[in-house]
């Protein structure tokens, strides 16, 4: 396979290509991409791969509304691309069905290997014929158990020592040159509070998504901007268990009154462990 291991592709390049495929990048940038597409075999293949990934996101209904609209109106215009989308849909449905069958077979096998249990009630003949008494007894038992558990294992937040890690990001910090902010997740960190710096804008509603390569691992809408010390930023909490070690990108989009998304900024960060 030609040049397979020499291809260097990062999330930014994939994003740029995705924007190109949806026809939402400036002409000069598109021209660079197109000349490379014509002259570079590896890059041509990269375009094909990115097309497939975009189609998969569409089929899985995981494109934001504005991109979905662009996909249908701009991208899905040729027979070849429609065939790609049809195949992606069939393939995804087939894989989902296969997985469901495997899970169902595993559950069936597990149930079949369990020994039949004796009924619980027959040994409690006294209670079987006195349902009200049984109910009161069970209820009392439950209350006592809950009380015991509460007294014995009362959660103490300071003892648990969980943390929310604040992370301030500015737009455009990229991987190259080692400038990408690194976030270290200790076991105590349960969530991250991202502060995404933005230029002052008239928008009151933002949508943000966290991407690991091309996969969206978290998204949040109805985010409102806050002003602190003359700077505007958007705050977003992300559960720490969504972030494995690696490089990530946050795409922040403004939501217009009509619900359309407009990409405002991209932020890069990487996650490392202690």
């Amino acid at each position: 396979m030609r040049g397979l291991n020499n291809l260097s592709v990062n999330a930014e390049q994939t994003d740029r290509l995705r924007d190109y495929l949806l026809g939402v990048i400036p002409w000069e940038e598109a021209s660079d991409i197109e000349q490379k597409l014509l002259g570079d075999a590896d890059f041509y293949e990269e375009v094909l791969v990115t097309e497939d990934e975009l189609v998969d996101l569409y089929v899985a209904d995981r494109l934001p509304a504005a991109e979905k609209q662009r996909f249908e109106a701009y991208f899905l215009t040729t027979t070849e691309r429609k065939q790609k989308a049809r195949f992606a849909k069939v393939f995804a449905a087939y894989l989902a069905r296969q997985q469901a069958e495997v899970l169902s077979a595993a559950a069936g096998a597990s149930a079949a290997t369990e020994k039949p249990r004796r009924a619980f009630w027959p040994g409690l003949g006294f209670f079987r014929h006195r349902p009200v008494l049984s109910f009161v007894a069970i209820l009392s038992g439950c209350v006592a158990l809950v009380a015991l558990l509460w007294l014995g294992f009362r959660p103490n937040r300071s003892q648990l020592g969980t943390e929310t890690l604040p992370v301030a990001l500015i737009p455009g910090q990229v991987r190259d040159g080692g400038t990408t902010p690194k976030v270290v997740l200790s076991p105590k960190v349960v969530s991250l509070e991202f502060e995404l710096e933005t230029a002052p804008a008239p928008y009151q509603n933002y949508y943000a998504e966290v991407l690991y390569e091309t996969e969206r691992v978290w998204e949040k809408d109805h985010l409102t901007p806050v002003n602190k010390a003359g700077r505007q930023s958007v705050l977003m909490a992300v559960p720490a268990d969504r972030l494995k070690p690696g490089y990530y990108q946050i795409k922040l989009s403004a939501v217009s009154a009509s619900g359309e998304l407009e990409l405002v900024n991209r932020y890069a960060f990487r996650v490392g462990s202690e």
């Binding site: 396979m1 000349q35 215009t77 429609k82 393939f91 087939y94 894989l95």
Partner: protein, 184 residues
């Protein structure tokens, strides 16, 4: 533009000579350029990218004498420049109402599954496992699965991505052929 101009064998041979003195290599280059021009026009949301690619090649072929006497520049750049003119003309004559996208619903789901199963069965075991495992699962599970796959194969994530794509492309071609046969 001379719309009556026809690509003759002689002019096509001249194009191949211009692309490469070795005829086999020239043929491959021709195919590659045509394929990539089709993609370029598809990326510009043109409805008939094949027609536009052929028109571009015809025009370059027609201008070969001027091109070869002017300079021996980058061939791809010529195709790109001529392609831009072809595209501008296309935009001028394109009808404002473009057809809506075709729905992706299928009436032959079981047949498609049967073809997919048969095509998967034709793949070598390692390729079958790779393509199924690569595209299975949802979101985070998929990310973890892909990481694991790349580690097991001892290749980088992007190499795995390209490998999975190639198998998938072959699978799609096989399924389309199978459906064509069964729906005849």
């Amino acid at each position: 533009m001379n719309k009556d101009w026809i690509l003759t064998q002689e002019s096509f041979d001249a194009l191949l000579d211009w692309l490469d003195p070795e005829r086999d290599i020239a043929g491959q280059k021709y195919e590659e350029i045509r394929r990539r021009l089709i993609k370029l026009y598809a990326c510009r949301s043109c409805h008939e990218p094949e027609d536009l690619a052929d028109e571009t090649i015809n025009r370059v072929t027609r201008k070969l004498k001027e091109i070869t006497t002017e300079s021996k520049g980058d061939r791809v750049a010529y195709f790109y420049a001529v392609g831009n003119n072809v595209f501008k003309e296309y935009l001028r004559r394109r009808l404002p109402d473009t057809p809506p996208p075709v729905g992706l619903q299928s009436n032959n789901v079981e047949l498609e599954f049967a073809c997919l199963e048969s095509c998967l069965a034709e793949l070598p075991v390692d390729q079958r496992e790779l393509v199924v495992n690569y595209y299975q699962d949802e979101k985070l599970a998929k990310i973890n699965q892909r990481k694991l796959l790349a580690e097991n194969l001892g290749i980088a994530a992007n190499a795995l991505r390209i490998r999975a794509y190639r198998i998938r492309a072959a699978l799609q071609e096989c399924v389309e052929k199978c459906l064509d046969l069964k729906l005849q």
